[in-house]
Subunit: 370 residues, 2 copies
C-alpha cells in the first residue's frame, strides 16, 4: 500500500505498521492453530504462551525487578484511579501531586476511598511547570504519594522522578505513566507502582497495565471488586476474569517490535528513548524558532517528549491549519477541548519522518500566514 | 485458505469467518482513513460512527426498548457482578437465584455490597434443573432479583424468563446473559437489566455489554468508581473512559453479520435462534441415542442450546476422545475443570456443519469404544 498518513492522535494512537501487518496476517490462523487469537480459550496453551511472552517481554524492556508483579487489567487509567485507591490506601491518608488534568482527576477519584491531600499543585500557573519536590507537603503516614509522570493534555513530563526517601518520606510512589510508558526507562528504586492505559504508547484500548511491588498486594478495602483486587489478580496471573486477550496480543507484538528496535546503536527502550529525544528536540526547536508564531507554554525543563500542545497567534488560523495538515496526511492535531489549541502526540510508534513532515508543514504554514 | 477447524471453546469462542476476514482486510486502513480502528481517537468522527452503529444494530437485533440504555463497559461478567450490585442494590436486600457456578459467583460478589438472599438454588441436584419460580422465596423489598439465564459451565438455560410481576414481586429482574446473548430474543417486559461479557456469543474478550432500564440509573453507592457508575457511563455515551474500541468494532461486525443472517426464511436473531435450536436438537439427540455411552445430566426442559456438557462411561476414554477430535479438526471439547467431562459450546458462530461433524465423530467414537 502507499504511504499511510501520520497520525498524531493522543490515544488511541498510531501503532507500528509492521505490528498491524502481522496482526492482519495472523487474523484467521495464529501459527497453524486454525483459530484467531480472538477465538482462543484464555486458558488454552496457545493463548497462555502469548500472555506469558507479553509479560516477560515487558519485564525485560522496562527492567522490572523480580519483586514487582505485572498485571493486565481493564478499565483504563480512569478506572484504575479508583482501583488503586481501593487497593493501596487502606482508607487512610494519601498524598497527590497535581500537575495537569489527569492527576487532578486521580486525586478527585481517590477522595471516594481515602483521606486525600494535594501535596503540591501547578494549577496557579496553568499546569505549565512541575513544583520542585523540596516544596511538597508530604505526610509521614501517607499510604502512598501519587503523581502523573506525563500529562497528556497539558504536555508536562517528569524528566526525573522524585526520590521520596531523600525527602524523608517512606510513602510508596505511585505513578500514572499511561502516556509515556515504555518511552524511557523507569527508575524502580523510586517507584512502587506504575499503571497506565495501553492505548497511548503500548497497544490498543481496553488493556490497563499495572506494575506493582509485591508488598503492596493484599491490602484491598473490603468493597474492592474481586476482579480488581491486586492480590486476586496477581494470584490468578491476570486470569481471574477473562483478560482482554486481543489487546494483550497486539501489545505483545508492540513489545516484540520494541525489542527489535535499534536507533543509532541503542536498542529496545534505550533506542526508542534516543529517538524520542530527537523527535521532541526537532519539534520544540521548530516551535521556538518561529519567532512567536507558535507558542508552547510549558517550562523548558518539563516539556513532554510525547505530547506537545501549542497555539497559533490568531484563532482564525486553526481551521486552515488543520485542513492543510490533513491534506498533507498529518492527522489528529487538534488540541484537547479543555485547553484548545493544537497538540502533536509523538509516541514511540511515530517515526522520525512523521515529525520531520510535521515540522516542514509548520514552517510552510508560518511562512504563508506569519 | 483451507477449511478452518471447528472450535467448540466456551469463550473466548469461535467468530464468523467473514467477520475475521473483514477485520483483517481493514486492519491497516479503515475505509480510506489511512488508520487502523485500533489507532483512532475514540472521540473522532470515524470511531464515533463505528460506536454508534454497533449500538444501533444491537438495539435493533435485540429489539431493545427506547427506555433502555446500551452501555459498553469493561471487566467481563465477573467484574460486572460487583458493578451491578454497586449500581442497583442501594445497599439493601437483593435476591439471587443460583442455578450453576456463574450465578453462585454473582451472589457471592453481591454480598460485598448488599444484603443477599438466595431465593432458590439447584445445588442439591448438582445444578441440573431450574427450580420452578412458584417456589422462589422473593422478598417484597428486594432492590432486584438476579439470575444467570444460561450457565456456561453447567449447561442449564432458562428457556422462559420468570414473570416476577405475576409472582407478586416488583423487583427488577437482572440477568447475566453472557453465554447466550443474541442467540434468541429477550423478553424486555420481564427484564430490567441484562449484562454479559462479549467473548462468548458476541465478539472478542474485553467488552462487557450492559442493557439497563433508565429508571435504574443514578442510584450508585458512593463507593462506586466513576468509570463504572451506570449514570456517568450513560451520560457520556460509554466514553467517560476510553472504550475498548477494537472489541466494539469487531462486535459491531458480528452484529452486521447477524443482521444479514438468514436461515430457513427467518432473519437476524429469529434466524439464528432457529439454527441454534436445530444444532442443539442434533447434538442432544445424538447423545441421547447413544444408549448410555454419552451422558448429559441436565433436565430435558432446561438444557442449554449453547453449552452442552457431557460425560463418557470410562475415565480412560477422555484422552483418546480428545486426541481423536483434534485430529478431525474438532477443538476445545474439554469440560470445565470444576465439573470435568466434555463440553461442546455451539454458539451463534458455530455453523450447522460443525455440529454435524461433531455428531459424526461422536457416533464413530461410540461405535469403536462402546
Amino acid at each position: 500500500m502507499s504511504q499511510r498518513p501520520y497520525n498524531f492522535a493522543p490515544g488511541p494512537a498510531t501503532l507500528p505498521q509492521e505490528v498491524l501487518e502481522q496482526a492482519a496476517a495472523e487474523m484467521l490462523d495464529w501459527r497453524g492453530t486454525g483459530t484467531s487469537v480472538m477465538e482462543m480459550s484464555h486458558r488454552g496453551k496457545a493463548f497462555l504462551s502469548i500472555h506469558e511472552q507479553a509479560i516477560a517481554d515487558l519485564r525485560e524492556l522496562l527492567a522490572v525487578p523480580p519483586n514487582y508483579r505485572i498485571l493486565f487489567m481493564q478499565g483504563g487509567a480512569l478506572a484504575e484511579n479508583a482501583i488503586l485507591a481501593m487497593n493501596l490506601s487502606r482508607g487512610g491518608p494519601v498524598d497527590y501531586v497535581v500537575t495537569g488534568s489527569w492527576s487532578a482527576k486521580s486525586q478527585k477519584e481517590g477522595r471516594k476511598y481515602a483521606d486525600v491531600q494535594v501535596a503540591a499543585s501547578n494549577e496557579a500557573d496553568g499546569h505549565t511547570t512541575i513544583p520542585h519536590p523540596s516544596g511538597w507537603k508530604l505526610r509521614a503516614n501517607a499510604a502512598y504519594l501519587h503523581l502523573c509522570s506525563n500529562e497528556t493534555v497539558n504536555g508536562v513530563e517528569f524528566h526525573e522522578l522524585p526520590d521520596l526517601k531523600a525527602l524523608g518520606s517512606d510513602a510508596p510512589l505511585v505513578i500514572d505513566f499511561s502516556s509515556h510508558a515504555a518511552s524511557r526507562p523507569v527508575d524502580w528504586s523510586r517507584v512502587a507502582m506504575a499503571y497506565g492505559g495501553a492505548q497511548k504508547n503500548v497497544g490498543p484500548a481496553g488493556l490497563t497495565i499495572v506494575i506493582v511491588r509485591e508488598d503492596l498486594l493484599g491490602h484491598a478495602l473490603p468493597i474492592c471488586p474481586s476482579a480488581f483486587d491486586y492480590k486476586i489478580v496477581a494470584d490468578n496471573d491476570s486470569m481471574y476474569n477473562t483478560p482482554p486477550a486481543y489487546a494483550i496480543y497486539v501489545s505483545g507484538l508492540v513489545f516484540q517490535w520494541l525489542k527489535r528496535f535499534e536507533y543509532q546503536g541503542a536498542h529496545g527502550v534505550a533506542g526508542i528513548e534516543r529517538r524520542n529525544i530527537e523527535k521532541a528536540k526537532l519539534l520544540y526547536g521548530c516551535l521556538d524558532a518561529s519567532a512567536g508564531f507558535y507558542a508552547n507554554r510549558v517550562a523548558a525543563d518539563c516539556r513532554s517528549r510525547m505530547n506537545v500542545p501549542f497555539y497559533l497567534p490568531d484563532e482564525r488560523l486553526y481551521a486552515p491549519f488543520l485542513a492543510g495538515a490533513e491534506e498533507r496526511g498529518l492527522l489528529a492535531l487538534k488540541g484537547h477541548k479543555s485547553v484548545g489549541g493544537l497538540r502533536a502526540s509523538i509516541y514511540n510508534a511515530m517515526p522520525l519522518e512523521g515529525v520531520q513532515a510535521l515540522v516542514a508543514y509548520l514552517q510552510d504554514f508560518a511562512r504563508s500566514h506569519g
